[in-house]
Amino acid sequence: MEKKGWFDVVQSSYVWKSIFRHEYQDTYRNRVLQISTNVFLHLHPTKIRRHALRLRFTWCMGGITFLLFLILTVTGVILMFYYRPTGEYAYHDMKYLQFDVPFGMIMRNMHRWCAHAMVIAVWLHMFRVFMTGSYKPPREFNWVIGVNLLVMTLMLSFTGYLLPWDQLSIWAVTVGTNMGRATPLLGHEGPFAELLGVDARYDARALLTAGRLIGPATLLRFYVLHCIFIPLLAAILMIVHFWRVRKDGGISGPL
């Protein structure tokens, strides 16, 4: 019997075997078990069509979008340790993160740039899916969910834009939310709103901004939307999206 290395010893240990229920040896059976017995990897099917590996076909944009979402979740939670969503502290905390907290600046940079990258990745993913006709039967509904995820991505990015509470954020959000004033029927400056008697205090925009002006109440509302509400909604839609990719026949390819 040949001499066992330390890795073999670990692998044959009781504890290791309780974690990984199959051997590492490269056999067809283990290749399947590797995927199907692992809660994280079993997002995948155990076998995939060969062209799904070709980057020229997939651009890997869906996967990159998901990875960026994960990075954003992690860096976002880290930033939450220092950030307080109030009018008096928000900007101060940004400065604190940038100039005092160790690695605060790089966490903020990463969160910001990944958010931009995610918007681009989502657009490219949609572009690729359209160009390969991958919304065609049986994947119609998954395209619809994808469009909703695109909207979620933009809303996440937009609500996050206000949080630094600097000139850039407040004016970008002013321009953005003021469109809500003009919502037909429901915004106080929108067409036909006079017929319903909608005023600035109770209209579609005030629902988002918590009042007539962009102020501390808006900041708190955007913070909750950005950190809890929209990520949860997006995560639920993502679960359905990935599930449907598999149930609708895997990554698309020539029929």
Binding site: H44, K47, L53, N109, W113, K136, V144, L213, P254
Partner: protein, 285 residues
Amino acid sequence: MAQSTITADTEDSGDGTGDRSDGAKVKERARTAQRLAKAIPDKVHTWPYLVRLEMMVGTAVMAFVTVWSIVVDAPLEEPANPTKTPNPSKAPWYFLGLQEILVYFDPWFAGVVLPSLMIVGLMVIPYIDINPKGNGYYCFKDRWFAISTFLFGFLGLWISTVIIGTFIRGPGWYLFLPGEYWDVHKTQALTNVDWSTFFGVASDTTAGFLIGAASALGFLIGPPAVWWHIKAVRRKDAFFLQLGKLRYWITALLFMSMMGVVVKMVLRLAFNVKYIMLGPYNFNI
């Protein structure tokens, strides 16, 4: 390829007698194998082939964003001040396409109705595109209309207005060439006119409203109606009959709305037309 051939062989061996001397049977077996090879997709194991690829792409992305975050700092301007509007004030870059459209339309259309149309339009694509070709591979010839329309909307309108809004729009929301000095005091005489004034009618009169409404509705409905009449009613084109009236009209109205945005942009830039139609209750287009 190898695996599916094996599968084909095993499945075929059920009825096969193994008589390789019979030429016809060999040909038959080869044909069956070929047919099955086409029908059964060529599959590989996810582990290690896909997981390995994901690991490599993921590492590359992580490395890229880490370097990017080390090298470039995220912007942080002065504290928020509701009384001091920066010039120019820009929305986040991915919304600059909408901000550009806001120059040409009232906010209720550019900020609410048009984005909703875009989202709904994207969502209905799979249900109005009944062309079975081009499912799962790149091609242009088989679906030239779908691809051209999408490319026009995505690249021609969305991406290009984002680029214009980011780089070309300066103080006062005037257009500046790249590299041109952003003069805060730049002014241009831009006195607006309305569409009906070209017909000698003031836009805030009933006659002006009727001219505007007729032009807008005529543009939206006229060309598609004529096209439907020619293709489906007169020529009995099989594709149009299969498409059906409902799908045709959804497609046509979305398409004409997109084109209408372009027409309004041209009218504004070339003739300074502010409104096509001045309606009641701020219902202006």
